[in-house]
Amino acid sequence: MEVHSGDYRARARRIIEETPEVREAVTAATRTFVEHRLEAFADLDEDALSHWAERVKSHALTHLADYLEEAEARLVERGAHVHWAESASDVHRILERIVRDNGVKKVVKAKSMLSEEVGLNPFLESCGVEVLETDLGEYIIQLFGEPPSHIVGPSIHRSLDDIRAIFHERLGTPRDASPERLAAAARELLRNAFLTAEMGISGGNFLVAETGSIALIENEGNIRLSTSVPRIHVALVGIEKVLPKWDDLSIFLQVTAKSATGQPVGCFVSIIQGPGGSAAGEPDGPEELHVVLVDNGRSRLLADPEVWEALRCVRCGACLNICPVYRQTGGHAYGYVYSGPIGAILAPGLVGLEETLPLPFASTHCGACKDVCPVRIPIPDLLHVWRKRAVERGLTSGVERSVLGLWASVVTRPALFGLAEKVAGLIPDQVVRHLPMLREWSAGRELPRATGRTFRELWDEGIE
């Protein structure tokens, strides 16, 4: 997908000022997620679980090549085709060949953020293939022609009224249809698509090396159908999704579901190990299984000792839900497929810092994300690494650098500091509110009320 992160502030402002209902919808949805998450972990030793999950993921990532080859070998043994894609265009090329070789005209898609990351839908459409999203949230944003605004809840920025209106326009449901009626209308359309599509495309929550198993978590049954009914199934799996052992999987499924929505596990978990009719005991399923292992910047990120830990992410969205910055705008402000705190550390790693500024600065560094991450990614520290690099590479604003440099020069000279404080106190508010940076403060806030004297003056006079 195209990256528009450079416009973060303008996008955020537009969302806040022009579509205040988005802020309300996102805040309500994320708060519900947060409450459910808290309940889900209430009786568990969350700390022990996250330490364990961190260890397993870090181990997998530091032995990634071995585990990926193990997973590939197991999948190939069962008759799956395994493809390695270094970039988005590699994914496109691989999919184009599968589509052409099999005369595919219609694809049903299960929810996959990786497919958004590599811009798969527009590419397939450009090949003349009809693509239908089958996750209800994804289907809704497909109708609106929008990217997802949240990793787990792609359409949480949309209100019920928005959805009623677009369903009325596109599917002919009544203007005041109940959510059940809307879901039924989508269901009817999607059921037919499952039966007529030649190919299903999914992502993969986890890839178990030991057994060559792709695990998928969902609630609607659409993943089960997308991956088993059409003749061909293509799974796009990020190379960082690997888990070493089968025994690791059950805990990761639980930790991910609990962190995401507070569910014990998803309503459905699909485990895919090979095509149907394969020797190793997969009686049902598609005739062909293609697994595309996607790098797209991940190995570069992995090789970066300061930021590699971002790759532990299991895409639960807990950091988005808890983030007070994310809650004001939802994900579209970030201009990248992954939004919120995790997006702000993944984007510069996967795409490039210059292309994704100012995302590492789109955070108050409040630290709430760090406390909820089920794999203990030190998100605030990683944000800081990207900020540091932005300064080192001269990518931050000249005004900001000058102000900070001046400030450092003043505060390391105490006599000058005292003088500067006095001078600052003499500048009238009418002037202050037009100074660089303070101008931005004054747009929605009054300037601080300075006390008449500084503390050091009070101290010199004597504090009674």
């Binding site: 450092a408 806030r445 009054e446």
Partner: protein, 234 residues
């Protein structure tokens, strides 16, 4: 016992009276307070901006100023977090890191005083937890305990632990989001006379927004309110 007060740059300019109240409070607890004159800013603005060399200059200066202090007490949670949690990443084994305490933290954890007086009898307050105080220092119960033991009702506030939107430079780099965050705090505030916080930046943010909207809410530094607790009932 002797402590060095680090008033912080915001405290010096914008919360001078609150800092003076911190001095009065500490003295009333038989603590001798000194004020090293060469102190300025801890360097947090530069650190948060990613400007490590400038942060290092300021941290080096501050660590030198307080090198001989038995305790450094700050009327600011986030600056305390800068000294305690970030200085060890900038400087080699800075002594100042483990000797620094936020004011309420110092009173409860070091002095082991949990009742200052009864000077807040009948007051209805809300307490805003600064993010770095809460999540880096683990300062959660101490301020509330001191307020409540002085007779104040600290009214539950569903958003009391959510960020106010200040975030230092964030407030001027992303003013629209920053203001929306302040609004979320203000719009969920229960019916109280005063909002108390240990962090100057948060107070400037919330007070600045509340005054802009014409909301009749008072914002006060924890140091001043704790001094009221002491003075009123001592």
């Amino acid at each position: 016992m002797r402590v060095s007060l680090f008033v912080t740059c915001l405290g010096d300019r914008f919360f001078a009276n609150a800092a003076a109240d911190a001095v009065r409070l500490l003295r009333s607890l038989d603590v001798e307070v000194d004020f090293p004159k060469d102190q300025t800013c801890c360097g947090q603005p530069a650190w948060n901006a990613g400007d490590v060399p400038e942060a290092l200059r300021m941290a080096t200066h501050t660590a030198e100023v307080f090198a001989d202090a038995d305790y450094v007490v700050l009327p600011s949670g986030s600056c305390t977090a800068m000294l305690r949690c970030t200085y060890p990443r900038l400087l080699e084994a800075p002594a100042v890191a483990e000797r620094s305490y936020e004011l309420a933290e110092f009173i409860v954890d070091v002095l082991e005083v949990t009742e200052l007086g009864r000077g807040l009898e009948g007051r209805r307050l809300a307490y805003h937890h600064g993010c770095h105080a809460l999540r880096e220092l683990g300062l959660e119960t101490q301020p509330v305990r001191l307020l409540e033991s002085a007779g104040a009702g600290v009214v539950p506030w569903e958003m009391d632990q959510e960020c106010c939107g200040f975030g230092g430079l964030f407030s001027v780099k992303n003013p629209e989001v920053s203001v929306a965050m302040a609004d979320r705090k203000l719009d969920t505030l229960p019916d109280v006379e005063t909002v108390v916080s240990a962090d100057g930046g948060c107070l400037l943010q919330l007070d600045g927004r509340a005054r802009h909207r014409g909301l009749p809410i008072r914002f006060k530094s924890l140091a001043s309110v704790l001094w009221e607790a002491r003075r009123g009932g001592a």
